[in-house]
């Protein structure tokens, strides 16, 4: 083992030697890393085996190699996927390295000692899963989704645009949670389908009061300083009947939906892939084709939402009433 790196027994928190098999976004992870996802029988076939590498300093640049994808945010944050010899590295800057061995279907997790070790689980469930799926040509949106009357509505948008808040409002009004923040979609001849993802909704501080609408034992604080609400999850795939782009407004008094023309809708959807900054043209082309297909099949709306807190009790009913013509068979 290289000098300076420690074996996983010294890593506290959510790392442990025992392997369990989890199902998330339609993928099965046999993982030493504890995931917030349904556990399936251990003898189930596995898509990826996840093991704990240990502690290692993680830089704020991509690892050496061919960069397949990179995205940077303010403050030196960001992530990159690099091909480095026989394996790929998904690096979340200064936080975590996921070494991906595509042939062996194996992932090793190395955490920066300065990071909260629980963040690795969150990253695997979100950005890393999205990266694996998108590299394989699947569609993964930056979206939350809820199910109502057997059909799914997705809320897409960049960080901080109200996706999770809307999902929480809907679940508080009785909808089933399909996923928060990361939504895998698949088109086939029968329709467009949402895969179950995260079992919790993670709310920013300005929407944390929504957690009060759920039973106290369902709410807790997350490693990234949010308030999470654990919700009984819709366990199966739901047909997607509408995509909503929320536009929170402090001055609006009612919910207003504007349907987008298909061309405009497709262009919007292309801005909401779960991981962005791909340079691999094969992936770019596949994403273009699948998002175009989805935009042709699923109506997309911009939705002005009167924003809180406090949130009006009428938001969810008004939203679904206005969606009804588009979502009825």
């Amino acid at each position: 083992m290289p000098k300076g790196q420690e074996a996983f027994p010294s890593v506290p928190g959510r790392f442990r030697r025992m392997m369990r098999t989890y199902e998330l976004h339609g993928l099965r992870f046999c993982s030493e890393l504890e995931l917030d996802a349904p556990v399936v029988p251990d003898n189930s076939p596995c898509d990826w085996v996840v093991s704990c590498g240990g502690l290692s300093t993680v830089g704020d640049q991509p690892v050496d190699g061919q960069i397949l994808m990179e995205r940077r945010f303010d403050g030196g944050l960001g992530y990159a996927l690099t091909e480095s010899g026989a394996f790929q590295v998904f690096r979340v800057y200064s936080t975590c390295d996921f070494r991906i061995f595509p042939v062996e279907r194996r992932i090793e997790v190395w955490i920066d000692p300065r990071s909260n070790h629980g963040i690795a689980s969150l990253l695997l469930a979100g950005a890393v899963s999205a990266c694996l799926l998108m590299a394989a040509g699947e569609c993964v949106l930056h979206a939350s989704a809820v199910g109502r009357s057997g059909k799914a509505v997705a809320f897409v948008g960049n960080s901080g645009t109200g996706k999770s808040t809307l999902a929480a409002l809907c679940c508080r009004a009785g909808a089933a949670l399909i996923t928060d923040d990361t939504l895998r979609l698949r088109c086939d001849e029968t329709g467009t389908w949402c895969y179950p993802g995260a079992r919790e909704i993670r709310l920013r501080s300005n929407a944390a009061s929504l957690a009060e609408g759920f039973a106290p034992e369902m709410a807790y604080s997350t490693v990234d300083q949010r308030t999470a609400v654990r919700i009984a999850q819709a366990g199966s795939k739901f047909p997607l009947v509408a995509i909503v782009i929320p536009q929170p407004s402090r001055t609006a008094h009612k919910v207003e939906l504007i349907p987008l023309a298909r061309g405009e809708a497709i262009l919007h959807l292309h801005g909401y892939s779960r991981t962005a900054g791909w340079r691999d043209k094969r992936v770019i082309k596949a994403q273009f084709e699948v998002l175009t297909r989805i935009g042709q099949r699923v109506p997309v709306f911009k939705a002005t939402i009167p924003w809180g807190p406090p949130f009006s009790e009428n938001i969810v009913d008004s939203l679904f009433q206005q969606l009804a013509p588009a979502t009825s068979p």
């Binding site: 298909r262 043209k281 082309k285």
Partner: protein, 89 residues
């Protein structure tokens, strides 16, 4: 009008109800062409003189010649700036 224009290679497009949605993969620019723009796009899948494109549009659409020329040149300018077409003088 004697320049030769051709669509670039590094993009993917799809037809959508007579419009064209596309992505220039080198620079990540998405574009949407209306039906007239789509007609132009189809014409420049092979190298063509701008004058030739103009003549085809005049045949296909009811438009004043000077308006057609102006709008065509403006469209080709935009496409060139987005690196979607190659122009040879």
């Amino acid at each position: 009008m004697d320049s030769i224009v051709v669509a670039g290679n590094d993009q993917v497009t799809t037809d959508l109800d007579g419009e064209t949605i596309g992505l220039q993969m080198a620079n990540g620019i998405y574009f949407n062409l209306n039906p007239v723009g789509t007609s132009v796009w189809k014409l420049i899948q092979e190298p063509r003189k701008v004058r030739r494109i103009y003549e085809e549009l005049i045949k296909e659409y009811t438009v004043q010649p000077e308006v057609c020329e102006r709008d065509l040149l403006a469209l080709l300018q935009q496409l060139a700036e987005a690196q979607l077409v190659i122009v040879e003088s």
